[in-house]
Symmetry: C3
Subunit: 343 residues, 3 copies
């Protein structure tokens, strides 16, 4: 359990405190579930109507709401309440779930030639391959896998049962969730006699910049010849597929279940909704935002917002429209015939 | 190998036996592959034409088919043959693959403070974290992971290499297939200076009711502040993504590759076909059924059947129609012009 | 590091060498990133313009390009440069990452009754269940799982943290990438009183032919009664779902994130783009090719190319068209009214 006084928080995280610095806070909560020992935040202006009703002991708000929070036990005025909440969550997590002690669990297997910083932590039943290098403050979870020649930068957190394949190189402060597989073979085969497929061994690796996050059970394949490259600050949600030789620019974010086919180059500061599909060998420039479910079948060379999913409809209606879409050519021909007649 | 007499089965599972109680059965089989030592079932009325041709020694059928099966070596008359088959499969599996003996495999790692019921079974190379609690009859498979403070109810089956993250709470008789990750971090980031993303630590947990099943390599993320909550009897197939703070009502079923974005609330007794996508922060009421591939982009407030996928077509035809969809605005304008002229 | 002379390569892999057999090659590279110590290949005629500019020391080309490469330090003339590259990549990988020595790592757990060929290799913290049989040259990676009664043919490569469930049978030379789960339970439940689901235990297994490849975090479920069957030479990319009792014919390839529902039978020599969805209980004949993102909702009984995804569009345009699709019935009615009036 975490217990902190409002004054302490402001000392650590900044902001202007109104009200009682001695107020004890025991949880972070949303506006509606907060109680007198909760700290909550108001980031979305649409939620301002909830401000009077919330029972939160301490509220994080923009300075413009100074008057609205003056009567509360405590409030913290900041420029960006959502960002402040993010930093508060980090502070809280450090106390709630302190990182494991440095050192190697006796049940872990560390192969000869691995270079472990004395401030790194290797969990129970984890595996660290030959010549792997693990920097200060990195945490390798229980049953996680770090292959031969892999490199983990300072402060990386590899969750339980994540897999960092041989030769992968991660920058500093990367987070890899459970079940993620970094460095599986790219999907490469040459057609051979009789319709057989001849495997193309994948000789490249995966490189992640600093502060990359990879979600649970996501996959980033190693390159065929060169590397698959994920830029600084890229955030990938769960069950994402990144094929071989893809490049993703800095600070691009992808929601769950996105698939990116081989050799595609994606710019920086892009975002992709859930289940977006992106074909191979195309280019997407910086600051492209694609809504959930859309299929990117060609390069996108202009920044902006893109969509491509149809919303569900009642089953009967949908089926009729789906049939009509197949008759669009006929409809157009009939329209043209009418135009000719009336013209 | 399992070997059982027809009479024994009926004693254990109920139903009215016709024919020879001493008939020996050695496998459960479909109607077409059954032989004289097979027990088979007829649940789908469309398959009644197969009834005469099947060589099954014993058939499970509705009472209404009494006359049609009278000449068989044996038959079992029941109210619901498919449900009877389900229970038969359970009885069979208990004998074919008896659960492992209680106790902890010597290669498993159990951290101090974990509370293991003496009737629980912890497999080879499994990991059980600090203060985790595992109830009677629970089975943790080889190389599976149960994080600190996690709770497994009585009779839970955690398959080999599944991962139950720290603080997750499972009810009784849950089944988690291999590679599933319960309790990965939700995908939460606040925008910061320079387009960077600041991680929001996920402080909530995952709660599963009783008799929940989670498929292979599916992911259920922990909540940001509160919990992600899966109701009693929910069945999730493989490669499903359930984001943070989602709530799913009792007995809802999802086929493989479904993705549900954050904070969405789904009712009870719903069903979702494969690859359905559901955006975040919406509500779906009880008894909603969404066909495979549809994208739910808004709340669904009426029970019923919904669809939203287009069927494949020959590539050339499809491409023409896909272009026409982009010209629908033009087609409508031309139609309007004609209407105006002819009006 | 690999170092080889051009002459040696041709001795091992065939082809006609032009130029200097003593030329030392230290990497395989694409045309654009190649240097004087690189061997590269030209397979795609569209890339011929790059041929003069590439700095590759040795080029693999078709015989027809003999004159174009005559001035190079070295070139190898072959019938099929891409296939030659595939074999070269295999030769290279053997030297770059020699397979682990035969034997069982002391940290692995091998249950009584398992039959390991002395030329098989079992990695650190791997698990091999009772009565499992592992043939000559098979490699089970670190932390991988081979369940009871499973069979691995000669030369199989099971990557770190892959899972071969109990009773699965793999032919020779199969490759299973990290995190794949072969033999999870199929998704089978019978409706019971109160809308509950009664589990149907999955009593079948998974059978893979020879030279099957299964990508990272893909899932192939065991059959309900019979087996799920994957033919020789089938190649499955990452995050693919193959449900229970599916059959896939020889040499069919599926890109990432494809989902195939239960009991569907797919022919040989088919291909499926990323994120294709295929419903259950249908049949797809040989030599069907389905483009990325399409949904196969009925049997496909004619070989050929099929499509079904809409490309993204600018968000505003897309939303207008998505609304128009829902009004297609109305548009058609208006068109008919006009036709009646003008007719």
């Amino acid at each position: 359990m975490v217990e902190v006084r409002a004054g302490e928080l402001v000392e650590q995280l900044g902001g202007e405190l109104l009200g009682d610095p001695a107020l004890v806070l025991r949880r972070i909560a949303g506006l509606e579930s907060a109680d007198a020992e909760s700290i909550s935040f108001l980031a979305n202006p649409k939620l301002e109507p909830l401000l009077q009703a919330t029972r939160a002991g301490c509220l994080i708000v923009r300075g413009a709401l100074r008057d609205a929070v003056r009567a509360r036990p405590a409030a913290i005025l900041v420029d960006d309440p959502y960002l402040y909440y993010a930093r508060l969550s980090q502070w809280w997590a450090q106390r709630l779930r302190p990182p494991p002690a440095a050192g190697v669990h006796p049940s872990a297997v560390v192969e000869p030639g691995a270079k472990l910083h004395p401030q790194a932590s290797i969990g129970a039943l984890a595996y660290v391959g030959h010549r792997a290098a693990i920097a200060a403050g990195a945490v390798v979870g229980a049953q996680a896998h770090v292959g031969a020649d892999a490199q983990l930068g300072a402060g990386c957190r590899i969750a339980a049962r994540a897999c960092i394949g041989a030769g992968s190189r991660l920058g500093e402060r990367c987070v890899v969730q459970g079940g993620a597989v970094i460095g599986g073979d790219g999907f490469g085969f040459a057609p051979a006699a009789g319709g057989r497929w001849e495997k193309i061994e994948q000789l490249g690796a995966v490189r992640l910049g600093d502060a990359v996050e990879v979600g649970a059970n996501s996959c980033i394949d190693r390159g065929a010849l060169g590397d698959t490259v994920i830029g600084d600050g890229v955030k990938l949600d769960n069950l994402i597929h990144i094929a071989h030789n893809v490049e993703i620019g800095a600070h691009t974010a992808m929601a769950a279940c996105v698939g990116v086919a081989g050799s595609t180059r994606i710019g920086a500061h892009c975002s992709f909704g859930g289940q977006v599909g992106i074909v191979g060998h195309i280019r997407i420039v910086d600051r492209v935002h694609v809504a959930a479910g859309a299929k990117v079948l060609r390069s996108i060379l202009q920044p902006g917002r893109y969509g491509g999913a149809f919303p569900v409809d009642a089953a009967g209606t949908w089926e009729k429209n789906a049939v009509l879409v197949r008759q669009l050519g006929v409809l157009r021909a009939r329209l043209r015939a009418l135009e000719n007649r009336s013209g």
